[in-house]
């Protein structure tokens, strides 16, 4: 889009739009540059950091510019625009094309992923030991994260889905000690199995669809899979996403990784797991195999219910601070699945918006928890107290992060959860009730943790605590700013997303009318029906 505008200004013919390629591959360029930079002195390490920041900024600025351009017309949410499409591997049993596109389903998530990448670089600013490996791996894994969200061909999506496994595991392993090694091992096996499940689903989809293409545009608009194949594909994708997002019963690798690694690495692990898993569930499972979605709605709802409750009560029961954030992620993952299993445009848009919220809110919690535990060396709730006196900015960041994920008005979580609950209610009212209960328990857990850390009499180690400042503060401020932006500006973002999810729910309605038809009337519950209907 930017490229096209520049050439339009120059008055010549429009070139191919490569904005998405720039967004996805700018971090790879940064990682490549970093590999060749020396990092022996402070100045050289500063250059490494600035290079990483520059690469992340390029992606962020391009994605932001394009997204806000698209928001000018919310109807664009239903169209894959911007788009790049060239042949890549033609002719073989599973031909793959280089097809990148951004629509209402993926583009806001892509933008949030670029924010996460930016925040990761800032949160890692104080890394001095082996900074080249650290920043290089973060940028390298960022390519996979961004690529999954931009890919419009299942072969390409699979490639990007596998991409971050090795760098993220290596980053977790870099944490040092037996705990990090064990966490890395578990995460590796879990994520590799998720890749295997997705691979099998993609091959099944590509080979049994009766059309030699893995292009999502073809698969989701032209072809209808037989019921058995569709169910198989759906089950495999759900399995892949359970493993990637860390849903029950595959939650321990994510909790361990969040507990055993540095804040930035924990942010990357949970952020990339949630984003790639949740998005793949919506895009491939619901959009690619709607008949399977019809068949497996009840098990998926059960999974959502168990995961929400497990995450919420786990967060309440756990005493270790870092593991608490891991359980928050699990609970949010369950809520995302609840929104997706609502199968209405409203609930799916809400689920995606919740993904976006979690990608901003959970890293904020992890940032605060990391700062507190690293500086005070206290890991358990009972060992802390009175931190607000010495670290008011950290306590504010914690409060905003918790409020964001709990759906307090003005922040991004509010419209997200409202959409999830209102969109899912007509189909699964008991599921929504359980979701509300889980949210209440999660709120209690976060409130209890916050009050133990920041309020009350000061603990023994509190004098070692420093308040957030410098890059850490900037990272927190960016997350807060975007939590607010997506909260206050949901009237702009959600209609754009609903236009994208409308196609998914429409396909679900076409393939499984008995299940989805009652939900159509519920669309009136959407906060944004008026704006959404303007398309």
């Amino acid at each position: 889009m930017i490229g096209a505008q520049l050439v339009a200004l120059a008055g010549s013919a429009a070139p191919p739009d490569i904005t998405l390629s720039i967004i996805v591959f700018a971090p790879l360029l940064g990682a490549g540059l970093i590999a060749f930079l020396p990092a022996d002195t402070d100045l050289q390490r500063f250059r490494v950091r600035v290079t990483a920041l520059g690469a992340a900024l390029v992606s962020f600025l391009f994605a932001g510019f394009d997204l806000f351009g698209e928001l000018a017309n919310v109807g664009q949410g239903g169209l894959p625009q911007p788009e790049e499409h060239v042949g890549w591997i033609p002719g073989l049993p599973v031909p793959v094309s280089y097809h990148l596109a951004g629509d209402g389903v993926s583009f806001p998530l892509l933008f949030v992923a670029t924010i996460l990448l930016l925040v990761l670089v800032l949160a890692s600013w104080r890394v001095r030991d082996r900074s080249r490996i650290h920043f290089g791996l973060i940028l390298f894994s960022g390519v996979g994260l961004l690529g999954v969200l931009a890919a419009y061909d299942l072969g390409l999506l699979l490639l990007f889905f596998v991409w971050p496994v090795a760098p993220v595991v290596l980053l977790v392993r870099q944490g040092g000690g037996p705990r990090a090694a064990a966490a890395a091992r578990r995460l590796l096996v879990s994520w590799l199995l998720s890749c295997g499940c997705l691979l099998a689903a993609v091959l099944l989809l590509g080979l049994r669809a009766g059309h030699p293409s893995l292009d999502l545009a073809t698969l989701t608009t032209v072809l209808t899979l037989p019921r058995g194949v569709s169910t198989g594909v759906f089950a495999l994708v759900v399995a892949a996403c359970i493993l990637r997002m860390g849903l029950v019963p595959a939650h321990l690798p994510v909790v361990d990784a969040a507990a055993g690694s540095s804040p930035a690495v924990a942010m990357l692990t949970v952020g990339s797991g949630l984003l790639t898993g949740g998005y793949t569930l919506a895009r491939v499972a619901l959009d690619g195999a709607p008949r399977g979605a019809d068949h497996l709605a009840a098990p998926l709802l059960g999974l959502a219910v168990i995961t929400m409750l497990w995450g919420a009560f786990g967060a309440y029961a756990v005493q270790e601070l870092r593991r608490l954030t891991g359980y928050v992620v699990i609970c949010l993952g369950g809520l995302v699945v609840l929104g997706l299993v609502g199968y209405s445009e409203t609930s799916i848009a809400g689920a995606l918006y919740l993904l976006l919220t979690a990608t901003l809110g959970v890293p904020l919690l992890l940032l605060v928890v990391g700062a507190v535990t690293e500086r005070t060396r206290a890991r358990r709730l009972g060992e802390l107290g009175g931190c607000a006196e010495v670290a008011p900015r950290l306590s504010l960041l914690w409060a905003i992060g918790a409020a964001g994920v709990l759906g307090i008005p003005l922040l991004a979580g509010f419209p997200a959860l409202l959409q999830v609950f209102s969109g899912t209610f007509p189909a699964h009212r008991y599921g929504v009730a359980v979701g509300c209960l889980a949210l209440v328990v999660l709120g209690a857990a976060l409130f209890r943790a916050g009050s133990r850390i920041f309020l009350g009499p000061p603990g023994e180690d509190v004098e070692r605590l420093r308040d957030a400042q410098g890059s850490e503060l900037y990272a927190g401020a960016i997350l807060v700013a975007f939590l607010l932006l997506f909260g206050l500006g949901s009237g702009r973002f959600l209609p754009y997303m609903v236009n994208g999810t409308d196609l998914i729910s429409g396909r679900l309605a076409a393939e499984a009318p008995a299940m989805v038809a009652p939900l159509i009337g519920a669309a009136g519950l959407s906060l944004l029906d008026g704006q959404g209907g303007a398309r």
């Binding site: 002719g91 595991v169 691979l199």
Partner: protein, 480 residues
Amino acid sequence: MSLAFLADLGPEAVLVLGAAAALAVSRRRGDRIAWEVTAVGIAACCLTFADSLLFWHASLGPAVPDIEHGSLLVDRYALFVEAVILAAAVAVLLLSGDSTEQLRPLQGEFTALVLLLALGGLVAAASQDLVTIGVGLTLAATASALLLGLRKREGAAAQAAVQSFCLLAGAVALFLAGVVVLYGLTGTTQLTGIAARLTRPDTAAVLAAALLILGAGGLLGLGPFLGWRRRSADPAPLAAVLAVTTLGGLAGLGALVRVLDTGFARVPLAWTVLVAALGAATALGAALLALRASRLRQLVLLLVAGDAGLALTALPALHHHGAAATLLATLVFAPLAAGGLGMVGWVGAVGDRREDLRGLWGRAPGPCVALVVVLAALAGLPPLAGFISWFQLLGAAMAAGFGWVTWVAVLAATVAAVAVLRWVAVLLDPDVEGPTVAWPGPLVVAGLGLTGLALLLGGPVAGPLVGLAARAARPIFLGF
């Protein structure tokens, strides 16, 4: 009598002359003998390739085979395999450029044997007669055994070489026994004749297929030969292991594709399950053994054997897409094997045990990055060439109705990735003192650069490579 067919044997003749020239040059005295011998070997490969270019125009037409004299068959498939084998031979010669000390005073013999090994592969791929294919495999097996026995004065090396010779001779004997059974069944050793007469998958056909598969698979280190591949590698010079693994593997793959997809196309029940099971079992077995590998050389060899096993899993897809996926894997196999063992030669200069390489990143970041890239490609991690090849292979296997192969292969790839990432974690270990890695000589740099470029670009520019493989696979199924 027309002697035109002699022109068709030009590429083979050039390789034989190159081997003789390498031996002649090595008999001279001087400091630059190693360079000169390597240059002769590379020149022979380049000339052979140039000679084969003459066939390209003819092979582009619709009528296949284009050139056929007795058992010689120069079609697109033969030209494809020939180009891959010659490129691999050049890579092997370049990557063994620093092995002068190990090979002294047998540099000429080494180069000659590498060229003869390549010749064996060429003959096996460019033949429509099972006896000639057997001759090609015998040539490759003999050259392999001799290469592994280059350190004939060292007890362990000589013992391993004798063992290799026996095993490879046994593999060739199995292949020839398969040929005999097939001749008894069909009355011919011509692949097209066999394909026309072999229409029922009876016990004899299954036995013949099994013997042929095991025979050609011996050079690949498949199944029962996996242990041999591991054991023979330790005492032999790395340059010899590099040549045997890369060129021997290509010769075996080239022969298997030709024999099975052409000769047995009408009786898939006789062999498809066996090939898929053997390939999947090799991949899984190699991956599990790789988990326990304590030396880099072993790790790389096992990963290469696993990749060779995976390459076979697409063969049961009896369509030119399946063969194309196998050929793409063949194309990727060459830089994987050569690059992997080339990196062992470079980085292993400081010791190739896990403890020797602990913290390599801190001491030598450049070699460490190169090693990580090669290991990632061997494990099939994206976005490298190995991943693209792996994806297509599994697609072809699933298209052939072998969904279980996909699951086994996914498990094998998961285990291989775990093995590789454990090594990568060791390489990135902080604050470990040790020797730095010196830069290799210019020949090795060139070899590593070429193989590394192939692995890196094999992913992003996979389209043209797939096109080449698909074109090469087409004549195999012509007429069926």
